[in-house]
């Protein structure tokens, strides 16, 4: 049961990720990305992290992607006019080759890796909170709130028409 769900979600994530980078219309890309994010959330849940799975849907699919869609609809974006990549076909080909090389390298290492026995694992929300608010991460956590505030102010300043 879990296996079927895992591989179905993985396949869905891959296909929708292809949609994200393959579609000319950015709205389709956005919907593809939403599907990717939701299937990743299922995988997070199966890997024993319900909290991260919920956050994935709330933050990514529920907030960030709504923002993307809002901007796409606000600007009334049409499809890209020209299919070949920027900088011409040569640069695109080089980019594809480099990425393929990277993926092949990392994949070769990973395929050879032997999965060990999974250790006991408790990713309940309470444990998450204990680690997140321990001295190890507490200051980082506080710093991210400043980051969010800065982003908020910056976004308003950038998008505002005139001051």
């Amino acid at each position: 049961m879990d296996q079927v769900l895992f591989y179905a979600a993985a396949a869905l994530a891959l296909v929708s990720a292809l949609v994200v980078i393959g579609q000319k219309n950015p709205i389709y890309s956005a919907f593809g990305l939403i599907v990717t994010l939701c299937s990743l959330s299922v995988i997070f849940g199966l890997l024993g992290s319900p909290f991260i799975a919920a956050l994935q849907v709330i933050v990514y699919a529920g907030a960030i992607m709504v923002l993307f869609l809002f901007v796409l609809m606000l600007l009334n974006v049409r499809s890209e006019q020209d299919a070949p990549g920027r900088g011409g076909r040569t640069l695109g080909a080089i980019a594809v080759a480099l990425v393929a090389l990277l993926v092949a390298q990392a994949g070769a290492v990973l395929v050879r890796a032997e999965p060990g026995p999974a250790p006991a694992f408790d990713a309940s929300t309470q444990r998450m909170a204990e680690i997140l608010f321990s001295p190890q991460f507490l200051y980082v956590f506080e710093a991210t709130s400043i980051l969010i505030l800065a982003a908020l102010v910056g976004a308003i300043a950038l998008a505002k028409k005139d001051f």
Binding site: S49, Q56, V59, L72, G107, L110, F137, A159
Partner: protein, 103 residues
């Protein structure tokens, strides 16, 4: 729940997602699609974090995913604000049109 090959295959999937995201960043012309490809790369990284966290039995990876999400939210907000400003300025979203430093 604890099928041993889950972690292994999740890491492979994260690699594939990261690769696809990188391709999107290189090949797409629309700024918003490029931003979405970056989100795809971040998600590939997140999946690797969660999978390795599961394999190691510690929660540090999950905490990092939490921070990645925060940064991604900030990045999306600022990035999209820049996109709106650029669109107002040039009336296009083609990334090659934004090649002048002077406004």
């Amino acid at each position: 729940m604890d099928h041993p090959s889950f972690v292994h295959h999740a890491v492979l999937l994260s690699l594939a997602l990261f690769g696809l995201g990188t391709l999107g960043v290189f090949l797409r012309r629309n700024v918003i699609t490029v931003l979405m490809s970056i989100e795809l790369m971040l998600n590939g990284a997140n999946l690797a974090f969660v999978a390795f966290s599961r394999a190691a039995g510690t929660l540090d990876g999950q905490v990092l995913v939490f921070f990645v999400m925060v940064v991604a939210a900030a990045e999306a907000a600022v990035g999209l604000a820049i996109v709106i400003a650029l669109h107002r300025h040039k009336d296009t979203l083609d990334i090659d049109a934004f090649n002048v430093m002077k406004g």
